[in-house]
Assembly symmetry: C2
Homo-oligomer: 199 residues x 2
Amino acid sequence: MTATPAPARVRLKPEERRTQLINIGLRLLTTRPIHEMSIDEVAAEAGISRGLLFRYFPTKRDYYVAVVEAAGRRLLRHAKAPEQGAPAERVRGIVDGFVSFVQRRKGNYVALVRAGAGGDDLVLEVFEANRRTLTDRVLDAAGVPDPTPLHRLAVRGWLAMTEEMAIGATDDVVTTADLVDLLVGNLEQVMERFASGDR
Amino acid sequence: MTATPAPARVRLKPEERRTQLINIGLRLLTTRPIHEMSIDEVAAEAGISRGLLFRYFPTKRDYYVAVVEAAGRRLLRHAKAPEQGAPAERVRGIVDGFVSFVQRRKGNYVALVRAGAGGDDLVLEVFEANRRTLTDRVLDAAGVPDPTPLHRLAVRGWLAMTEEMAIGATDDVVTTADLVDLLVGNLEQVMERFASGDR
């Protein structure tokens, strides 16, 4: 192995440096699970010392949690309903954003979910908060003004299905557009079935 | 802390000892995630030395994988369709077994799923194999003789929903019997929607 020349050290403002370090983490996540990501590698990519990195993130865990939070914010920026429109169209906006987000970065997403499920309580809290936000958005888009715990449970289940199918779907099985249609239609049925007394 | 007296050492046949050690693991899983389970604690519970335990399971990982496999076998023993009956009744057998299994040991089940997702490839393989077996059983029970990849994707998604709802449901939100009804009905709709051209 020949040593690659270290990137030129660039002086960045603290906020820019923080953002740079998190972006490196998000990029490395596409190639390996978060647990296998090394702090030394992140510092080297940024062209800074390990010591300087730890001034931004006092522990490895702080760094990982920041990366997972950033990934969650990205997902939530994509999985948004349009302000106006019929419920089905507003739900479609969320599903399309969610499914497309997962499909564009499958390895990354699975690595994140695996990291989240790996047992770190802080990471699990980030996941839980994102899941709650998504649930609220879906209920609002679907036009459920006063959701019951059963509505919430139904949407949580349907989000798990959406995530599983977005990860598992490949183009030769179903196109993203068709998958989105299928999931939007399924939510309508889930909400009818789970929310009414008609079972 | 006062030392509790060690249990009397009992001589067991190798297969019995193996089963005993795995059963201890399954029981400890109800109180903590698998990663926090200590080999010393397992050996102490069995009244044997750490060294003897390692003769049955050469590494901590071997032991964990064996515990996860045993938990998977238990789940599959419960989540079974009756041999005879209409598709909806056969599917109900699987769902009822799955949901009841998860609900009786929620902490344990979540700990296992978290362990599985935690990134150990062998544990992930065990999960994947179980998920495939469940998918096959559901397709067979639902009367889909020649499943397409889209059928499989649909059932995988629905299983993720079933798992999420079984974990999330509490008695004040929905009874187990009602949840099973809801999920059985939902599978019918999912299969119709996902398997036909009618979207």
